[in-house]
C-alpha cells in the first residue's frame, strides 16, 4: 500500500486516485457421496488502483491491478498509462467520497472459530442431518470466506472492514426403486447457526423424496400459485435493480420516482427497503467499494416508487444523495395467515424468469405441491407463466418472514394471475 501511495503521489497528472485492496482467505471442503474429495485454501490479495484526471469539464478515470511482483518502475509505468487513458475519458465530473477513516467488522460468529475448525463443524452439521431411507446428500461443497477490504483515496478516505460469508451447496438425492432424483440447493449465510442449517437441509431431504413421488399432472391446474423466498428475492431484486442510479442514468429503467409498481392493487401493498446490513445477510457491509457508509432507503412504499439508490458517482450525476451500493433487501410482510384451500406451492424451479420489459413472469417448475382440501399431490414437469403487472397487482404476502441470502421478507407469496401448463 505504501509503495502504491508513494507512486500515485509522485505522478503530477493525477487529479485523484482510489485504491481498493481485497484480501480473501477461504477454506473449502468438497465431498463426493459424503466422502472427502478435495480440500482447498485461498490466500489472495487484489490491489486495484483507479486514477482520475480532471480535464476541462470532465473527470476521466481508468483502473488497473497491482501484483506482488510489480516493481517500482512497472508501477510508475502503469500509473502513467492509466493517467493517459483517463485523460481520454470524457465523463461528467463528481467528487470522491471525502475524508473518513475507520476500521469495522460486520457482525458474525465466524470470528469465534478458525476456518478449518468451522468447516469441520459445518460438515458435521450437514452430514449429521437425519436422513430417511433412500434420501442422502450426494454432493456437498462448503466454502467459508473471510474478506478484509480496504479503501483509500486522495480525499483522505481510509476505511477497512472485515466481512464473513459462507456458502454450502448440498445436493439432496432420493434413490427409489424406479428412479433416482435430486434437488439443487445452495445455502448462503453470514453467521453460523447449526440448528437453522440442519433444519433447512432436513426440509430439503423431505422435499427430494416428494420429487421422487411427484407426478406429471394429468389434470388441469387452475389455482393460486404460492412462491417461496428464493423466487421472491428474484422478483423484488428485479424491481430494485430498475431503481438503481446507474440504470436511471443510463435511461434503462422502466419505473420513475412516483410511479406505481401496483397500479390497481387488489392484494397486499409492496414495500421494499434497501439497506447496508441485516443480521446474517451475506451481503452485509459497513461501506461499499467507494468507501460510502451504508445506511437504508425505502425504495417502494405501499406500491409506489419513493426513491432511487446507488453509488456515489451515479448519485452525483443525477443530482441525488448517494446512498452507496446497498446489498441487502428488506420487504414488508403481508396479510396471509393461511393459503387458499386449493393452491399450487412451488418448491423448486429451474429459475424464475422476471422480464419487466416484456411484462412476463414464469418458468419451469421442478417440484410443487398441489393442495386441495386435505389432498396433497407432489407434481413435476409443469411450467407457470403470467403477466408481471397483473401478478404484482394481486400478489399477497405471508405475515411470516424469513431470511434468504440477501433478502429478508415474506416467507411466501400467493399469486392469483398465473397460468399453470
Amino acid at each position: 500500500m505504501k509503495e502504491i501511495l508513494t507512486a500515485l503521489r509522485r505522478n503530477t497528472k493525477l487529479s485523484d486516485y482510489q485504491i481498493n485492496i481485497h484480501h480473501k482467505q477461504s477454506y473449502e471442503l468438497f465431498f463426493v457421496k459424503s466422502k472427502l474429495e478435495t480440500v482447498r485454501r485461498t490466500d489472495t490479495c487484489d490491489r486495484e488502483v483507479k486514477v482520475f484526471v480532471d480535464h476541462g469539464e470532465y473527470k476521466g478515470d481508468s483502473q488497473f491491478f497491482v501484483y506482488p511482483s510489480t516493481d517500482e518502475t512497472q508501477l510508475d509505468a502503469l500509473i502513467e498509462d492509466a493517467a493517459s487513458k483517463a485523460a481520454q475519458i470524457n465523463n461528467k465530473s463528481y467528487e470522491l467520497v471525502g475524508e473518513q477513516t475507520g476500521s469495522y467488522e460486520v457482525e458474525s460468529n465466524f470470528r469465534d472459530y478458525d476456518m478449518p475448525e468451522l468447516a469441520a463443524l459445518v460438515s458435521q452439521t450437514v452430514f449429521g442431518v437425519k436422513t430417511r431411507d433412500g434420501a442422502a446428500l450426494n454432493a456437498v461443497e462448503i466454502f467459508l470466506n473471510k474478506h478484509t477490504e480496504t479503501v483509500v483515496n486522495s480525499r483522505g478516505l481510509h476505511k477497512t472492514q472485515v466481512r464473513y460469508e459462507a456458502m454450502v451447496e448440498a445436493i439432496p438425492t432420493y434413490n427409489g426403486q424406479t428412479q433416482s432424483v435430486e434437488l439443487y440447493e445452495q445455502y448462503n449465510f453470514g453467521s453460523y447457526d447449526a440448528q437453522a442449517l440442519a433444519s433447512q437441509i432436513g426440509g430439503k431431504l423431505e422435499e427430494v423424496e416428494a420429487r421422487y413421488r411427484a407426478v406429471r399432472p394429468d389434470f388441469a391446474i387452475d389455482c393460486p400459485v404460492v412462491l417461496g423466498p428464493r423466487e421472491l428475492m428474484q422478483l423484488f431484486m428485479s424491481i430494485a435493480r430498475d431503481l438503481n442510479y446507474s440504470a436511471v442514468y443510463a435511461h434503462s429503467n422502466l419505473r420513475k420516482k412516483g410511479d406505481l409498481v401496483q397500479k390497481n392493487p387488489t392484494g397486499d401493498r409492496i414495500s421494499i427497503t434497501m439497506t447496508g446490513q441485516l443480521p446474517g445477510c451475506v451481503r452485509s457491509a459497513k461501506f461499499d467499494e467507494d468507501g460510502m457508509s451504508l445506511g437504508s432507503i425505502e425504495l417502494v412504499k405501499e406500491g409506489q416508487v419513493m426513491a432511487y439508490y446507488g453509488s456515489n458517482r451515479y448519485g452525483q450525476y443525477l443530482g441525488l444523495r448517494p446512498t452507496g451500493n446497498l446489498g441487502c433487501m428488506k420487504v414488508a410482510p403481508g396479510s396471509v395467515e393461511t393459503f387458499p384451500a386449493t393452491h399450487l406451492e412451488v418448491i423448486s424451479m429451474s429459475g424464475l424468469q422476471v422480464d419487466a420489459f416484456n411484462d412476463y413472469i414464469g418458468g419451469e417448475v421442478r417440484l410443487a405441491y398441489y393442495r386441495s382440501g386435505e389432498t396433497m399431490i407432489p407434481v413435476t414437469g409443469i411450467s407457470i407463466s403470467g403477466k408481471l403487472s397483473q401478478v404484482l397487482e394481486s400478489i399477497r404476502f405471508t405475515t411470516q418472514t424469513t431470511m434468504f441470502g440477501a433478502y429478508q421478507g415474506p416467507k411466501h407469496a400467493v399469486l392469483t394471475a398465473m397460468t399453470v401448463f
Binding site: V39, K50, P68, Y184, A250, H251
Partner: protein
C-alpha cells in the same frame, strides 16, 4: 502479444516448488495464470477504458498423497521455496474425522509432456486510443440510427491469456487472445421500452471491428420488432431453433448432464444411457476446446491436459462425456481436456468448452416450410441444467410465428422452453445443413464457477413446450 514475462520469471520456481512438495506428496502440479483483460465501453453519457473483469494473476498448487486432493491458491510463489512448501504442507492437516472419511486411493496420472503454444492475434496492433475512438465512432453512428434510441452502448473487450503448467513430468505453456464486441440499445417505441443487442467475436480485433458496423441495421430492426412483440400463448409447438438456441439446447439440455464429475457423484442420469439412444438418430453433438476456434478454445486445460474434441452423441446414441483430470481418474477414463477453473482461485471441474450440434442434411427454408403453425426461436437469454432429472429450461429472447410454412411479422418475447430432455431431443426431426458457433457465452455450474463458453450448431426442428 507474447507469453507472460511474469510467468516466464516464475517457471524455474514452479519446478523447484514441485520438486520440494514432491517430498510430501505423490502428485504435485503448479498452474500459473496471467490473464490481462481490457474493457472499453462507450454510451451516450459516459465511457470507460480499463482492466476487464477477467483480469487475474496468480497460482494454484495441487497436491495429493493418493486419497484426497489439496489445493492452495496464492498470488505468487517467489521467495523461499522450502518455506513455502512447508507452509502448504502444514496448511492441510486434517482432523481425524475428515482424514478417516476420504474418497480412497486415487492416483492422478502425470504422463511426460513438454509443449508450448501460441495463437496469433492482432490485439497488440491497436492502441487504447484507436480502440476508444472506434467505440466512440460506432456509438455515435448507433445513436444517430434512430430517434427511438434512449441509450446506445458499444463495448469492446479483449482477454489475453497466458498459462503455465508444471508437474513432475509435464511442462506446458500457452498464450492466446479472444475478442468480443457488442452493440446494445435501450429503445422506446410503440409505448414500450426494450433492450436489444448484437455481438461480434473472434481471435482478431480487425474481424470484430469490421463486423460490428454491419450489425447496426439488424439490431435496430430487432429493437423495433421487440416493441411490437406479444406474449406467447402457452402450449406445445413445432419450433425451428436458430444456431444460438440450438447451442443453448446442446449446452443446457445435454452438455451439463455429461460433465463427468456429475457421473462420479451419481448426479447425472446420462450415466445410465451411455451406448443408448438419447436423441433422434439424426443428432450428432460434440464438445471440445480443440473442436473449433472460439471463446473456449485453448491448448491445455487447467489440469494440464491437452484440449480435446469429444463426440458426445453419434447418430442419436450417447458415446461419452467430458471430464477433468480428477473425475476421469476416479472413473478410470482418459481425461478429455475439460478441467476448467473460473480463475486460479477456484477449483477445477468438468466443464463444457465449445459445445454444438453438427450440421445435417436439410435446408432451412424446407424446415420452415414444413411447419403449419409454430415458431422460429432466436437468441439465447439464459438456461438452467438439471442433469439428474433431465428437466429443461431454456429462454429465448424472442420467437417469430410460422404460419403455413412461412415466417410472419408476429414476434413473441420472451419465450421460455421447458420440458423433458429426451422428449425434446427425441423430437428433433430435421437438422439444417448450415452451422454457426456463438462465441460470446458464459456458463455457471449451478449458480457459480463462471467460465467463458461458446455453443451453436445448425437449425433444428423439434417439438417443445413454450410459455
Amino acid at each position: 502479444m507474447s507469453f507472460s514475462e511474469f510467468l516466464t520469471a516464475r517457471r524455474a520456481t514452479a519446478k523447484e516448488l514441485v520438486a520440494e512438495l514432491g517430498k510430501y506428496y505423490s502428485y504435485v502440479s503448479v498452474l500459473g495464470a496471467d490473464v490481462r483483460a481490457k474493457s472499453i465501453r462507450v454510451d451516450r453519457n459516459s465511457s470507460n477504458l480499463g482492466a476487464g473483469r477477467d483480469t487475474e494473476c496468480g497460482f494454484v498448487v495441487k497436491m495429493s498423497k493418493g486419497s484426497v486432493f489439496f489445493e492452495y491458491s496464492l498470488d505468487d510463489i517467489a521467495g523461499d521455496v522450502k518455506a513455502l512448501a512447508a507452509k502448504l504442507a502444514e496448511a492441510f492437516r486434517l482432523s481425524q474425522a475428515l482424514a478417516a472419511n476420504t474418497i480412497g486411493q486415487v492416483q492422478l496420472p502425470d504422463e511426460p509432456l513438454v509443449e508450448s503454444f501460441a495463437r496469433r492475434s492482432d490485439i497488440g496492433a491497436y492502441s487504447d486510443t484507436q480502440l476508444l475512438d472506434a467505440a466512440r465512432g460506432l456509438c455515435e453512428r448507433l445513436l444517430q440510427g434512430s430517434e427511438h434510441i434512449l441509450n446506445g452502448v458499444v463495448s469492446l473487450g479483449s482477454v489475453e491469456v497466458s498459462k503455465l503448467f508444471v508437474s513432475k513430468n509435464r511442462e506446458l505453456d500457452q498464450n492466446y487472445t479472444w475478442i468480443n464486441g457488442n452493440l446494445m440499445v435501450v429503445y422506446r417505441e410503440n409505448g414500450k421500452v426494450v433492450q436489444a443487442h448484437e455481438g461480434a467475436y473472434g481471435t482478431h480485433m480487425a474481424q470484430v471491428l469490421a463486423q460490428l458496423p454491419a450489425l447496426q441495421e439488424k439490431l435496430l430492426h430487432k429493437a423495433h420488432m421487440l416493441t411490437l412483440a406479444k406474449a406467447i400463448t402457452p402450449g406445445t409447438y413445432d419450433v425451428i431453433t436458430d444456431p444460438s438456441i440450438t447451442g443453448l439446447i446442446a449446452h443446457e439440455a445435454f452438455g451439463h448432464g455429461v460433465e463427468l464429475d456429475q457421473f462420479v457423484k451419481d448426479r447425472a442420469l446420462a450415466k445410465q444411457y451411455v451406448g443408448k439412444y438419447v436423441a433422434s438418430p439424426i443428432c450428432n453433438m460434440r464438445d471440445g476446446a480443440a473442436a473449433t476456434v472460439s471463446a473456449a478454445s485453448y491448448f491445455f486445460d487447467d489440469d494440464g491436459v491437452l484440449a480435446g474434441d469429444t463426440q458426445i452423441i453419434k447418430d442419436g446414441i450417447l458415446l461419452t462425456g467430458i471430464s477433468d483430470l480428477a473425475s476421469a481418474t476416479q472413473l478410470g477414463l482418459a481425461p478429455t481436456g475439460n478441467g476448467r477453473r473460473e480463475s486460479s482461485r477456484r477449483k477445477a471441474y468438468s466443464r463444457m468448452t465449445n459445445t454444438f450440434f453438427e450440421p445435417g442434411q436439410s435446408k432451412l427454408e424446407d424446415m420452415i416450410a414444413s411447419i403449419a403453425h409454430g415458431y422460429m426461436l432466436f437468441e439465447t437469454s439464459n438456461g438452467m441444467e438439471d442433469p439428474k432429472n433431465w428437466a429443461i429450461q431454456c429462454v429465448a429472447q424472442y420467437g417469430i410465428e410460422i404460419v403455413d410454412g412461412k415466417l410472419t411479422d408476429h414476434w413473441v418475447s420472451p419465450v421460455v422452453m421447458s420440458g423433458y430432455v429426451p422428449d425434446l431431443l427425441g423430437s428433433i426431426s430435421m437438422v439444417s445443413d448450415d452451422f454457426k458457433i456463438i462465441g460470446s457465452g458464459s456458463c455457471g455450474k449451478g449458480y457459480k464457477e463462471w467460465v467463458r463458453v461458446s455453443d451453436g450448431g445448425p437449425a433444428l426442428k423439434a417439438k417443445v413446450k413454450l410459455g
